[in-house]
Amino acid sequence: MNDILLTVKGLKKSYGATEVLKDISFQLQRGETLSLIGPSGSGKSTCLRCVNFLEKPSGGEIVLEGERIGTVRTGNGRERIMSDRELAPQRSEIGMVFQGFYLWPHLNVRDNVALASIKAGGMPRAEAYELAEQMLDKVHLRHKAGEYPERLSGGQQQRVAIARALAQKPKLILFDEPTSALDPELVGEVLGVIRELAEEGRSMILVTHEIRFARDVADRVIFMDGGVIVEEGPAADVINRPCKERTRAFLGQVGEAAGLAA
């Protein structure tokens, strides 16, 4: 099957003289879960944030279902980066889950999930609430709809954030280290939800330090280091039988920490 959902081509990002991403290219099939792994500072989060233009790339292109994300051709044939206002409709097709959850503390759980449907999607409130409840059901938190985020555990907050992304009915969901801010005993519940989404055949890109999880859940893995893709392939191959020395060294380090060899 060859049903390309997302194409990232020649993606570059620099902060001043520091080049964080150097010519990153990859594709995502529809229904595929792709995991980006690599050491801190390798550029994987930046890469993810470039997909919905929370970071503005310095070069390259992002194409979602044939549509260029984040840039428009001006009258004189040159490309320019869209404003945040112009980006809004494109971003609503791409869900994002952040390391720090970023639920809105002044809104209850139901409103956190329904807000974008109502305000950005123009959905009637009753319908948006119904959708929110369904999405909360998916993350097993329907009973918390009336609570405020501060009353929830970190794991529950992150599951609400996942429900909020799902409520956008996105074509693609980006996960930016979704479990890195969680206490170890809360990681499992969030990974469980992500696993269910992967099994539903959602298209997802997952930046994670949970190597074992990436191996078990992702279809494909990309290992990044120093702003370049070092190795990519089927998850089990890259993680169990890496070809590149740098990949082996990284997996060796995290493997020791996580007991990956088991």
Binding site: N52, L54, S83, D84, R85, L87, A88, P89, R91, S92, E93, I94, G95, M96, F98, G100, Y102, L103, W104, P105, H106, L115, A116, K119, A120, G121, E150, A161, R164, A165, Q168
Partner: protein
């Protein structure tokens, strides 16, 4: 013949009406202009604008409000721009307040984690919607104690408008004193009148803070 207490109180109350008008007018200018300046200061890409706003804030805050009122009322009159005393007080205190609230609102917005706004944008909200539904409600909640302080300070500061003959509480109090010489009674009444206005305002803000769980 000594003025009776009811006469004193009625006269001062007339001043209180002016004081309230000055305070409300100034608060409106301060809030709208202060918020606009803070938004530009926080979100604008133009460094020159941010520098100009910083200079405005410093200038307004480091010169006494009384001096600003004198400039507006006497200074501008000499070049043909004439304000009524009340008008000068409203504009003067409003411009000073805008500097104060610009600082307060700016600090409130910077205190919000950038992720709050990013999450809103990532959901497909426009920048204006992110501001309206995510940033401003949280900013106002965070800065409510400072806004309350400003409000009670502003009410007290209306008293300096008496120096440009705006007919507010202290203006009438002084007039009454020079005509009746009942100094202790008149000033004590003025003090109690101020307190009876400021205390309820502070109380209302405290109540709002508690209801919104500020600092929780």
């Amino acid at each position: 013949m000594p003025a009776a207490l009811p006469v004193i109180l009625l006269t001062l109350l007339e001043g209180a009406v002016t004081a309230a008008q000055v305070a409300l007018g100034a608060a409106l200018i301060a809030f709208v202009l202060g918020l606009a300046l803070a938004l530009v200061d926080v979100f604008s890409r133009f460094a020159l604008l941010r520098t100009a706003i910083g200079a405005y804030v410093e200038w307004m805050r480091n010169v006494p409000a009384l001096a600003h009122l004198f400039v507006l009322y006497f200074g501008l009159a000499s070049i043909g721009l004439r304000f009524s005393p009340k008008g000068a007080a409203i504009v003067g205190l409003g411009l000073v307040g805008a500097a104060v609230l610009c600082d307060v609102f700016g600090a409130g917005m910077r205190a919000l984690h950038v992720g709050q706004r990013e999450a809103a944008l990532a959901c497909g909200l426009s920048p204006l919607q992110a501001l309206r539904f995510i940033v401003l409600p949280q900013m106002l909640r965070l800065t409510l104690p400072a806004i309350g302080n400003y409000a009670s300070q502003l009410i007290k500061d209306t008293s300096i408008a008496s120096a440009i003959a705006a007919p507010e509480i202290m203006f009438y109090a002084r007039n009454l004193v020079t005509s009746t010489f009942q100094t202790p009674l008149i000033y004590a009444s003025a003090v109690l009148l101020y307190a009876s206005i400021v205390f309820p305002v502070s109380w209302a803000f405290n109540r709002m803070e508690r209801r919104l769980g500020v600092g929780r």
